[in-house]
């Protein structure tokens, strides 16, 4: 129940209920108000008789006809009686001599002498006009003059019409104010929801240094608050999952590092023994065996290294950290560290590295170093008989590239030593991982490998 009361749904329902109640209260108020007025009017003897002009006319004629012993006093009594029933009425008596003999509450200026022409003019003016005017002869004949009744036509309006005339504007303004209040409250309500949703959206888009969204401060426990809470739980789960993943990655790295260490330690011992053996006096065959052993040790070392890298690459756990570096300079420095090895094997070394239009490539230098190492290692091991290594730059309209050329027997005539596959698989994965491209052209006259970056 508490949760329901906190909800936006409950708040919205409350707004609707208040709005409906206000309208209902408004109606009730109007009804009471109108009833009050009506009752008040009833008290003032407002019946249908007194609002019906025809009935008034008939009654005025009838009572005028019934009047006997015409005297000033009697006329005044007659007028007073009518005044009681029709407080807004005004009356006057013009006697048999055409003289204005008596009047009650007459507002307009009346002439003292009523000539036939004025009388005719008066009748003509008042016919069907306002005020409602009834002219009646006193008694059975026309010798006693006539009495005139004047009532403003407004008096004949029904009570509601009167109320409307008096209070209509106030009611209208009241209704408009209630509607405006409802619109304003609804607007503010939805604006606050919208504002919070937008804030939520913005907060969801913010990323922490580790690339994960950050938690949101939950202020209210309504539907949006619950959404924020769920989002926070999700962020927490995501963080935990990422931490788990990092721990697993760390564990895997540790495992591989330890495995590599444990394999290399006996290999080092083997190398130590082989080296010591090589320094003894040996037969030609013994010397060859020592050399073969040394080569195998170097091969195994390289294979372990490649195998570890390959395992990490296959599991997408080999750390990639791309940054903009001067790639020509980097390749030149890598070649500097390889130069003495090719020199020792009496290779013809040709290095022609010219600046590209843009030397800055966004790559991981460790990965590029590894690619170069694998390619040059392959040349040293599998294309030794060509005695040539060329490293050049090449620029076309489509790409910039580093070209590695050897004059070995080509890939199809692979040398007896194995292990070229895994080295090139690593090259392939690393090249693609850094969004570069590469291609190999291999024939019996040699191999050309291009590491390309498209423009």
């Amino acid at each position: 129940m508490r949760e329901f009361l906190r909800s936006l749904q409950a708040k919205y329902m409350l707004i609707i209920l208040i709005a409906i109640s206000l309208i209902q209260i408004g109606y009730l108020f109007i009804a009471i108000f109108v009833m009050g007025i009506a009752k008040n009017m009833d008290n003032q003897n407002f019946s249908e008789d007194i609002t019906n002009p025809d009935a008034i006319e008939g009654k005025w004629h009838e009572e005028a006809n019934d009047l006997q012993h015409i005297s000033e006093e009697q006329i005044i009594q007659h007028f007073a009686k009518w005044k009681k029933s029709y407080p807004e009425a005004s009356m006057f008596w013009v006697d048999e001599n055409g003289v204005l003999a008596e009047q009650m509450d007459v507002k307009e200026e009346l002439p003292y002498d009523w000539t036939p022409s004025f009388t005719a003019k008066f009748i003509k003016e008042r016919y069907g006009g306002d005020p409602f005017t009834v002219i009646a002869f006193i008694g059975k004949d026309e010798t006693n003059g006539f009495i005139v009744l004047e009532i403003t036509r407004k008096s004949f309006q029904p009570p509601l019409q009167t109320v409307y005339d008096q209070y209509g504007t106030i009611l209208l303004i009241g209704m408009i104010l209630i509607i405006l209040l409802f619109i304003t409250v609804s607007f503010l309500f939805f604006r606050s929801i919208r504002k919070r949703l937008l804030q939520l959206q913005e907060a969801m888009a913010i990323r922490d240094v580790d690339g994960l969204p950050i938690q949101i401060d939950v202020k209210k426990m309504d539907e949006i608050g619950q959404l924020e809470k769920t989002f926070n739980e999700m962020v927490l789960e995501l963080r935990e999952s990422k931490q788990r993943e990092q721990e697993e990655e760390q564990l895997r790295r540790e495992l591989i590092a330890n495995l590599s260490h444990d394999l290399r330690t006996p290999l080092t011992k083997l190398r130590a023994q082989t080296y010591s053996l090589g320094r003894e006096t040996l037969t030609q065959q013994g010397k060859q065996a020592v050399k073969a052993l040394e080569t195998s040790i170097v091969d195994t070392d390289r294979l372990i290294d490649n195998l570890m890298s390959y395992t990490l690459l296959m599991a997408s756990k080999y750390k990639l950290d791309r940054k903009e570096i001067d790639v020509v300079r980097y390749v030149r420095e890598s070649l500097a560290s390889w130069y003495h090895l090719f020199e020792k094997e009496e290779f013809d070394i040709e290095v022609e590295l010219h600046p590209f239009k843009n030397n800055k490539w966004k790559i991981d230098p460790i990965w590029l170093g590894r690619i170069i190492d694998n390619l040059l290692q392959n040349v040293l091991r599998h294309a030794k008989n060509g005695k040539y290594i060329g490293v050049k730059t090449e620029s076309t309209d489509e790409y910039d590239a580093f070209v590695f050329i050897d004059r070995g027997k080509g890939m199809k005539n692979e040398s007896i030593e194995r292990g070229v596959g895994i080295g090139l698989s690593i090259v392939d994965m690393m090249v693609k991982g850094m969004k570069l491209d590469w291609d190999i052209e291999s024939s019996e006259k040699g191999t050309t490998i291009k590491i390309k970056r498209y423009r």
Binding site: A257, H261, R264, T268, M308, R332, A336, H340
Partner: protein
């Protein structure tokens, strides 16, 4: 005599390296863990350190040594080949060599470090030149005459000597000697190398001391 402090827990490897280095006239103190290493630091010219050791690992020992004596070169010698290990090792150590290694390579790296930290003998013979590194003098052994070098020329030559046998690119040389970023097309370095050759080489047209490695850079080799 150069004193080497060598910390390695593998008996076979430790005894082999000790024997090889002793044969090459280094004085080697071999410890099987880093427990009492600080006792030997004052006399050591260089430290060779394994990573996987019982007790404190090589990284922790290396960092302690470097904190204590900053100008004592440390060479990490480990079977751990992961990039992360190398990066961590090189954050304090001066070189990192992975197992299995050739003893010649180990010695070459030791020599580079000794030269860089000026711990070795102060006379270096390069072809017809005798270089007195501590006195900053270069003498032509053929004529027994001292070769006079300007400040910049000596710094340049010293940079080659500290990186003996290594090929140095134009960028590395310029940045190492002048301490500024190399701009493509800058002739300053080439002009200085030409002057240096005119003073050092017997025949500057066919340089034997400062070799040009086409497409890569320059090298001073012994």
């Amino acid at each position: 005599m150069i004193q080497i402090l060598y910390i390695e827990d593998e008996i076979d490897i430790g005894s082999w390296v000790t024997k090889e280095l002793t044969e090459r006239e280094y004085v080697v103190t071999w410890l099987k863990n880093g427990e009492n290493a600080e006792k030997y630091l004052q006399n050591a010219d260089i430290v060779i350190l394994d990573i996987m050791l019982p007790g404190l690992d090589g990284f922790s020992i290396g960092k302690r040594i470097k904190n204590e004596i900053a100008d004592l070169p440390i060479l990490m010698l480990s079977a751990r080949t992961a990039v992360e290990d190398k990066i961590e090792g090189l954050s304090f150590a001066d070189d990192y060599l992975t197992k299995p290694f050739h003893p010649d390579e180990l010695v070459a790296r030791i020599e580079v470090l000794l030269r860089r930290f000026q711990k070795n003998e102060d006379i270096l013979e390069i072809k017809h030149l005798k270089v007195y590194t501590k006195d900053r003098r270069v003498v032509n052994s053929n004529t027994n005459e001292e070769i006079s070098l300007t400040g910049k020329q000596y710094y340049l030559f010293q940079y080659f000597i500290r990186n003996l046998n290594q090929i140095l690119t134009k960028e590395q040389l310029y940045e190492g000697v002048w301490g500024e970023t190399y701009m493509e097309g800058d002739k300053t370095l080439m002009v200085h190398i030409r002057y240096l050759r005119e003073k050092l080489e017997e025949n500057p047209a066919k340089p034997m001391i400062i070799e040009t490695i086409r497409g890569i850079g320059y090298r001073v080799k012994v």
